[in-house]
Symmetry: C2
Subunit: 295 residues, 2 copies
């Protein structure tokens, strides 16, 4: 048996086309272009690159982007006051504060300062709290776990009553993914580095989400035949045959797992492309929400 591949590139591209069409419909209707403000504090290369990719993608979809950078020495007050300016700026529909912030900054306070209606990253404490509660819906959901859910949906696998196992409990992927799965009526098990018999737990999973950052930890014999396997890991491992000297692998051993799973995401080209696609969708939603409020 060989799993069907969940093609994140193709699915993200389809989402982008839909999002661009929404932007076009808005501008055709005489509405302003959706706007995304990015806030980058300090000079981390990875953060610069993420912000760059987000702004580039926004431009391709017809979304305006406003880039703000502050020095690594910026004070709590400076960052929060920039956020407040952006809250008040009608051209800005979404505010993305690139994490991590420097150590001297209380990131919870910064995220809390973002207007909840512009929290396109879904990390506002109120949105996180709502994720963890029945009967309350976050306005925005963190983009990577949102993308994970979207990919599972594409397989047509029912969530209700499914056994879902989430490996990893990070704030940005594992925990919100687990909470989203609970909201969709899955039975959810949250595992992590302290868990015992991970293989045995994983083998019960109809839906397995791996987000631990350990290269190829999940082996083929950890997987229930026919399961949906979503691999969030992106780990660089040495590869002398590759020109750059390394290659990207997931948290799942793809070669083994694809022989057992029903559906599986590759790395790269699975979850990766979804994150920015969801962010763009969130930004357009925020703009539609703002337009409706004004109408």
């Amino acid at each position: 048996m060989s799993a069907q591949i969940i093609d994140g590139n193709a699915i993200a591209e389809k989402l982008r086309v839909e999002t661009a069409a929404e932007v076009e419909a808005m501008t055709r209707a005489g509405l302003p272009r959706p706007g995304l403000a990015t806030v980058l504090v300090g000079e981390r290369k990875d953060s610069q690159s993420y912000v760059g990719m987000k702004r580039k993608r926004a431009g391709e979809l017809g979304i305006e982007s406003f880039g703000h950078t502050l020095p690594a020495s910026a004070s709590q007050e400076e960052i929060e006051s920039l956020v407040k300016e952006l809250n008040a700026d009608a051209r800005v529909n979404g505010i993305l504060v690139q994490l991590p912030l420097p150590d001297h900054i209380d990131d919870e306070k910064v995220l809390n300062a973002i207007s909840i209606e512009k929290d396109v990253d879904g990390f506002h404490p109120l949105n996180i709290g709502r994720l963890a509660q029945k009967g309350r819906e976050p306005l925005f959901v963190p983009c990577t776990p949102d993308g994970v859910m979207y990919l599972i949906e594409q397989t047509g696998t029912p969530f209700k009553g499914a056994n879902a196992v989430v490996l990893g409990r990070s704030n940005i992927v594992g925990m919100p993914a687990a909470l989203l799965l609970v909201k969709r009526d899955a039975t959810v098990t949250i595992c992590h580095s302290r868990s015992k018999d991970l293989a045995g737990v994983c083998r019960q999973a109809d839906i397995l989400v791996a987000a631990v950052g350990r290269p190829e930890m999940v082996r083929g014999n950890w997987i229930k035949p026919g399961a949906v396997v979503i691999d969030v890991g992106t780990n660089a491992v040495p590869d002398p045959t590759a020109k750059k000297g390394y290659k990207w692998v997931g948290d799942v051993c793809f070669e083994e797992a694809k022989e057992v799973a029903g559906w599986i995401t590759p790395v790269p080209g699975g979850v990766g492309p979804m994150t920015i696609a969801m962010l763009m969708r969130n930004t357009v939603r925020a703009a539609q929400y703002a337009a409706k409020k004004l109408a």
Copy 2:
């Protein structure tokens, strides 16, 4: 084999003695008595009775209590403005808004208005969000799940790596209990009415927390030998032999479960007494926090 009984009455009493001693130490040191404000909206008999018990218990421990009642017709604004008054009142260290609020009230907004330092019930959205996040600690934890954790601690059972199963995903018990167990490094499975093979899932549990409100649903053969069983259910079932015509039973069939479990809470006299005991402890902690801030 017969389980050891976790005596919630005795444990809560010990906690109360400790809490009363803390209050006495504070007043001996010339500090004001801790103060708890209760806000009751409407005339629900059960809510009136809960608030009454909380105020009575506060009095017994030397905690001042300030009872506020508003009619069921009170507006959002009226409730929030009362909360703001209480935020500003230095005599008040803890604010308890009795839930549920009337249907026309947005309870999230009311809870959000409570100063996080006075949120002794632990339902402030920021505290709930922190519960769901690594590296962030809520100032206060909801009292019933806090009591559940306290009872498990008394058994000496290690949390780290334990398989914990939580039946029920309510905002006030199941979900926060699951999040607390994740924080303590348990592997946590969240089950609910849509879960399949509940018996099989429960049988894996080293720690089983039942909070679904279904009388005696968990049978003896659902329990792993030696497990810690915490029964949060309190269900009234008809009992013609009882004077009042009914008796209280938990979500666990106690008679069967006690033959298999290592530790078990009875109903009544297990989790029940813990809730108010934790609320009193939280109130005194809030007062100590306020005193330290002033010093």
